[in-house]
């Protein structure tokens, strides 16, 4: 069992290949210390991120999801992040109706040169998720469970 078992939460990051993944790399090369809760999934562009990736991640047990792409106007594909910005904003506003804490999902922009900014983003988001604790899970109702355990 990992020594971090129980201390880490499950945080998933969706990063664009050109800016934010590079930014995370820069932070690593610069040996900047970062929390270790985040697991990164690299995508070609923040515009590739289907909001359903995030919903699926959250419903499958992640405690937090972070999306990071190129700064607006800096997209490698010219306008991918402009579309992403609208989708992600709508998603962030949608989550509370389901009962998901909106702070479990953040999106931001980090460029390849911004190692320090990446360190700050990861630390701030990880602290934010630790502040919220483990995410609630969808489970069969109390009645169904009680009936099952009665046997």
């Amino acid at each position: 069992m990992s020594v971090l078992e129980g201390k880490e939460l499950r945080i998933v990051g969706f990063l664009c290949n050109w800016c934010s993944y590079g930014g995370a790399d820069t932070a690593g090369v610069g040996r900047m210390s970062q929390p270790t809760d985040l697991r990164i999934i690299r995508l070609p562009c923040s515009g590739r991120i289907n909001p359903l990736f995030i919903v699926k991640t959250l419903l499958s047990g992640a405690d937090g999801v972070l999306v990071s792409g190129c700064h607006p106007r800096d997209c490698h594909y010219a306008e991918g992040n402009f579309y992403a910005r609208r989708r992600l904003e709508v998603l962030k506003r949608f989550l509370p109706i389901v009962g998901i804490e909106p702070a479990r999902f953040e999106y931001t922009w980090v460029s390849a040169s911004e190692g320090q900014r990446w360190q700050k983003v990861v630390s701030t988001f990880t602290d934010q998720i630790h502040g919220l604790g483990k995410a609630p899970r969808l489970t069969p109702s109390a009645e169904a469970l009680a009936a099952a355990s009665a046997l």
Binding site: E143, A144, A146, A148, A150, L151
Partner: protein, 353 residues
């Protein structure tokens, strides 16, 4: 042993509690504006005065159930070698369904002929079937969607049930139908009251009278088969169908399933879940060809299966219990009775001959 008797309304809850001590009990409960068969816990309020929105099908044929679970395990000595560890699904718990209508309990007879018949024994089905008993509520009044008498049943049909309750003044007239039912009824506080039996008969008779005459469906299997290639007819019948699965999933006699492997990481489950012949994927072949490409083909199958193909191979038994859920809960009110009757009318081609 008490074979029948009068069960007072106030003793009903105690009886169900007694049964739930060593059985899982599924009983109709209000959720939102619907009534669904849900696990009973002590004190839950049950809805007996109208038929449930969902059928009791899930008691014996769950919406989805694992057949087995498996894990791929790497051999630490030889990393190229992978072992597969299989775990069989646990045996189902003994279950009692309380408060389904005769049609709902009778629905499983259609399953039995297929899954526990002359040629095939479906073990997961059989394990549930043998573990499940039905305490059924006879009907005192029919709804506009009821047509159990069309398919050879009726408001007090005890076939498929273990105990039959008939609502009478102040409670129920309870009658054990099977040995299982006798054991269940033995847990109840019932008194012998001859007057109640007659009262129960009168309640059922009133319901039968209200149902009225039923049409003769004996020509339906042949007529539906004759209509098989009449796509103009089926397209007209299917125009308003939206091809969802509400009818099949609510139907007490629809028994089709699909089997899928749901894998996550190095483990997974092989699960069996309800399938739906209204869906495009139902007959979609691996080549991409689909023998039932349109909703008209699919609706033809649904009606034909129940009123023609099934009775042809199963001694004339119609694979429909007449509960009317497919009509009542259809978002666009497709009426299977209307389709069968229209199919039985002389067709245009026949008139021209």
């Amino acid at each position: 042993m008490v074979m029948s008797g009068y069960l007072k309304q106030e003793d009903l809850a105690a009886w169900i509690d007694a049964i739930s001590a060593d059985h899982e009990v599924l009983a109709p409960q209000a959720q939102g504006n619907s009534v669904v068969f849900a696990p009973y816990v002590k004190g839950a309020s049950l809805v007996f005065d109208r038929d449930a929105t969902t059928s009791p099908k899930r008691s014996v044929f769950p919406q989805s159930e694992p057949l087995m679970n498996y894990t791929y395990k790497k051999d630490p000595e030889d990393l190229g070698k992978v072992d597969l560890e299989l775990v069989e699904a646990p045996a189902p718990k003994p279950t009692v369904v309380v408060g389904s209508r005769p049609c709902g309990a009778r629905g499983f007879l259609a399953f039995d002929r297929v899954y526990y018949g002359k040629t095939v024994t479906d073990v997961p089905y059989l394990r549930h079937r043998q573990n499940t008993a039905f305490i059924t509520m006879a009907c005192s009044e029919p709804e506009t969607t009821c047509f159990c008498h069309w398919v050879g049943s009726g408001p007090d049909d005890a076939e498929g049930s273990d105990v039959l309750l008939t609502p009478v003044a102040g409670g129920y007239f309870a009658k054990a139908v099977t040995e299982k039912g006798e054991a269940l009824l033995a847990k109840a506080t019932v008194s012998s009251d001859a007057g109640k039996e007659d009262e129960a008969k009168a309640v059922v008779q009133k319901c039968k009278d209200a149902l009225g005459e039923s049409p003769d469906l004996s020509t339906a299997p042949a007529r539906l088969l004759e209509r098989f290639d009449d796509m103009t007819f089926w397209e007209a019948m299917a125009s308003k169908c939206i091809s969802c699965g509400a009818c099949t999933y609510l139907c007490p006699t629809c028994y089709c399933f699909t089997i899928t492997d749901e894998i996550c990481g190095s483990g997974g489950s092989r699960i069996r879940s309800w399938d739906n012949c209204m869906s495009f994927q139902f007959t979609l072949e691996a080549s991409g060809h689909n023998p039932r490409p349109t909703k008209a083909h699919r609706l033809k199958n649904r009606v034909g299966h129940k009123f023609s193909y099934y009775p042809t191979i199963h001694d004339g038994n119609i694979s429909c219990c007449g509960c009317g859920r497919c009509i009542k809960s259809c978002p666009v009110s497709v009426d299977i009775r209307e389709i069968v009757l229209s199919a039985m009318e002389p067709s245009q081609e026949a008139a021209n001959d």
